[in-house]
């Protein structure tokens, strides 16, 4: 089938829905998602959204900007960060006006709480900056935006899996989508396409990410000729629930929880004397694994997150969801017992390079790809640099999702409609047919498991040249093995085996890009820690990595405006 819309948004998480709400009244828009509405992974965000609205104590956007830049280990582009943090209060009030039921403080204003790396007066002490809805902020904002989409009758293509982007003459004209419910292939033409497809945490064995976070959008852009930026910067959240990797929100520490080693010691005092447990995530993840390496962890490789002194009332009011997870999955009650936690792959700071309007940039001289936009986790503006601060990701999706919406609304007036030939559809048919006819001894589940273990062992919190080099070789061999995969399920309806084979192709490509970017960056910065190069090297590496299709690596300068790189101590 053939469909046509002015604007097509891929992904129904916060960035996609926010963009949709922005342009629905001015354009014919549609949202394509491989899952049903409200199942997108933004919903798993727990802790909150940061904004310097100062409801609890004095705060300023300059402080928020400084924290974000310092958190990024000075790799974020400061013009973009400034846009984001200055827009943050507007974002919060806008969400409140839409109906987001924010938690309230005693005077009836939006409550705010502490979060890692967010400080007052340029690092002096933690500041309460995170606006939240208990520990279900992402889900509730997702629901509210979905409700707004229903109100404005946004067209959805649910359970449609995008197979390719149609890019011709440096311009995006649409996409090919596979309807999971029927097995049909659809050509969806558009003047503007927004990729809002989220992250790729499922490349790693231990992750907080959902099954759908396979990085499809990142690699669709890459396959269509777009470089990927700063992909070595993969965030490991310090407190994944052991052994599942499910997120235990930083909100726990924001509300006062403490990390303890097997001696009962509050070890973060040694790693971050000023803000302790509220240091940036990369710092805390390394501290946890250092404790484990030095024999002060618990058997299996975890530490304790202690909430027991917070009291049941506060825990149930502010941390209901994580309390429920711990009770269900571990059978222990965090009101009375500490929670076993260890770092879990959580977020990719890198992604599809864009300008502050979401326009996709195809090279280091910032050439715009007409008709193609990206926002949210799959995009790299870059506001998170080498390490994202907690609660800045929801902010990112809402600020830059909206800006992409505004830009698309404006741009479509200038973009002519280009009908797409049958060729992309024919190619997609061949791809599906080829996959279904493929014969060989390999199984998707096994290759995927190998990839996930390999990335965990070779490219997680601690890295070095030897391990990255071996990782690269092994990923390349897994890519070869993927060619010999046989898909047993030949059915038309909800053939997830077929979809997972395609997803795995994306994951392996991205794993290679991550390894290659990490291999080339011979310094330590933010989440990228090289044991063979443990210091930051601003002389040689204060720059963004760009990996082009085919594996060429080039670099792009970082925009520094207000805050010049200095030692990063918490």
């Amino acid at each position: 089938m053939k469909f046509h819309h002015d604007i097509v948004i891929v992904g129904a998480g916060l960035a996609g829905l926010r963009a949709a709400v922005e342009c629905v009244e001015k354009a014919d828009i549609a949202i394509v998602s491989k899952v049903l509405p409200t199942r997108s992974h933004s919903g798993a965000a727990q802790g909150g959204i940061t904004a310097s609205i100062g409801n609890e104590e004095e705060d300023h956007w300059e402080w928020h900007m400084f924290d974000t830049v310092k958190g990024s280990d000075y790799l974020a582009d400061q013009d973009a960060v400034e846009i984001m943090v200055r827009d943050a209060p507007r974002v919060i009030y806008e969400l409140e006006h839409m109906g987001v039921p924010f938690s309230r403080n005693t005077v009836g204003r939006i409550a705010q709480r502490n979060f890692g790396g967010h400080t007052r007066d340029y690092g002096k002490k933690p500041v309460k900056r995170a606006c939240h809805v208990s520990d279900r902020t992402g889900r509730v904002v997702l629901d509210t935006l979905y409700d707004q989409c229903l109100r404005h009758k946004v067209k959805f293509y649910p359970e449609h899996y995008v197979l390719s982007l149609v890019l011709e003459d440096g311009r995006c004209d649409g996409m090919i989508a596979y309807d999971l419910s029927s097995g049909e292939l659809n050509l969806i033409e558009a003047k503007a396409v927004l990729l809002a497809t989220g992250g790729c945490g499922r490349i790693f064995k231990t992750t907080s990410n959902g099954f759908a976070s396979t990085g499809d959008g990142l690699n669709l852009a890459h396959r269509a000729g777009i470089p990927l930026m700063d992909m070595e910067f993969v965030q490991f959240h310090p407190t994944g629930l052991y052994p599942l990797g499910i997120l235990v929100s930083e909100a726990a520490r924001g509300e006062g929880a403490i990390l303890r080693n097997n001696q009962g010691e509050r070890f973060m005092e040694r790693y971050a004397p000023t803000v302790k447990d509220l240091a940036a995530r990369d710092v805390v993840s390394r501290a946890i694994l250092t404790e484990v390496r030095e024999g002060r962890g618990f058997e299996g490789g975890f530490v304790h997150l202690d909430l027991t002194h917070l009291g049941e009332e506060k825990i149930l009011e502010k941390l209901w969801e994580i309390t429920s997870f711990v009770r269900i999955y571990l059978g222990i009650d965090p009101v009375h017992e500490p929670i076993p936690v260890y770092p879990t792959c959580h977020y990719i700071m890198g992604g599809i390079p864009t300008d502050a309007e979401g326009r996709v940039l195809k090279d280091e001289s910032r050439t715009v790809t007409k008709g193609l936009y990206a926002a949210g986790e799959c995009a790299c503006v870059s506001v998170h640099g080498a390490n994202r601060l907690g609660c800045n990701s929801l902010l990112d999706t809402l600020v830059f999702g909206r800006r992409a919406g505004l830009a698309m609304k404006e741009d479509i007036a200038k973009i002519e409609y280009h009908p797409v030939s049958d060729e992309p559809l024919e190619k997609a048919k061949e791809l599906i047919g080829g996959l279904l006819d493929n014969k060989g001894p390999e199984k998707i589940a096994i290759i995927r498991r190998n990839m996930q273990s390999l990335m965990m062992d070779h490219c997680s919190v601690f890295r070095d040249e030897d391990n990255l080099g071996i990782g690269l070789e092994e990923i390349r061999s897994l890519k070869k093995r993927l060619r010999n995969v046989e898909i047993v399920n030949k059915g038309r309806y909800f053939n997830y085996e077929l979809m997972e084979a395609i997803e795995l192709g994306h994951q392996l490509d991205l794993a290679e890009v991550i390894l290659l970017s990490a291999f080339r960056r011979k310094e330590s910065r933010g989440a990228h820690f090289r044991e063979d190069f443990p210091a930051r090297d601003d002389t040689n590496f204060l720059k963004h990595t760009l990996v082009f299709p085919g594996g060429e690596v080039r670099y792009k300068s970082v925009t520094v405006t207000r805050y010049h790189p200095e030692a990063r101590v918490y």
Binding site: V35, H97, G108, R136, V140, L150, S324, G491, Y493, F494
Partner: protein, 239 residues
């Protein structure tokens, strides 16, 4: 430990009728039932279809019937069952089965949409946030835990009964409650008009199944009762 599953199967492409198939797999007591289903798919039968996304009870994708009761497969653990006990896995009731454990949720979302699931306001908004006290927020706090998994609606005897299947269902009513009792909402007249009919709040026959199965422990039946009370109060007010 060894787990035995009996799973509902139906592929419209080749089956005239649904059937059940048995699978035996090795599982760890800490595994989720969702992990077991994935293992069955990976090791035994890649044609098995079911929805999943977050894997920890937030997205609401994997609602299904486990030993007869609607639940999320990611929230039930192997250790909740006995070794060698047969675990029966079936799709949610009420909705049409599309394939295996996947049901058509379009009608669910259509009904959800019919209650006007968004804040209705009439007065202009302030520059900053509207005020809401902690107590006002608390009245609907439980309801915002809803993840639209449809377990409640699928378990409701009223929705299951052909004679009363037009009932809007507990999930829609939980969202209606969430807006009706939000102190910021100014649409209570319209909302009450939408809910004050036999297939609206009055469709509820207080069977409690929704409350029993809710994976997010929402007091669903109680909230529907509160809606009914509010409707009666508004009728009194009109007189």
């Amino acid at each position: 430990m060894i787990m035995n599953f009996r799973i509902f199967r139906y592929d419209p492409e080749k089956d005239d009728e649904p059937y059940y198939r048995d699978y035996e797999i090795e599982a760890d007591p800490k595994d989720r039932i969702l992990d077991c289903l994935n293992r069955i798919r990976a090791e035994k039968d890649p044609t098995l279809s079911f929805r999943m996304s977050c894997g920890h009870g937030v997205c609401g994708s994997d609602g299904m019937r486990i030993n007869g009761a609607s639940a999320l497969a990611c929230q039930k653990l192997v250790r909740d069952f006995k070794e060698n006990e047969e675990v029966l896995i079936e799709p949610l009731q009420v909705f049409r089965v599309v394939k295996d454990l996947i049901v058509d949720l379009d009608p669910f979302f259509e009904r959800y949409n019919s209650i006007r699931p968004y804040l209705i306001t009439k007065n202009p908004v302030p520059d900053k946030e509207r005020f809401q006290s902690v107590e006002e927020h608390r009245t609907f706090e439980d309801a915002i835990r809803c993840i639209l998994c449809a377990c409640c609606t699928a378990s409701c005897p009223v929705n299951q009964d052909k004679a009363t299947e037009a009932y809007i269902g507990p999930a829609s009513l939980v969202r209606a409650f969430r807006y009706l009792f939000d102190s910021r909402d100014e649409g209570s007249t319209e909302r009450i008009a939408l809910l004050d009919n036999k297939d609206g709040a009055w469709g509820c026959q207080t069977k409690w199944m929704c409350t029993k199965v809710c994976p997010k422990e929402i007091p669903v039946t109680k909230e529907i009762f509160e809606i009914k009370k509010r409707i009666l109060e508004s009728r009194k007010g009109k007189k």
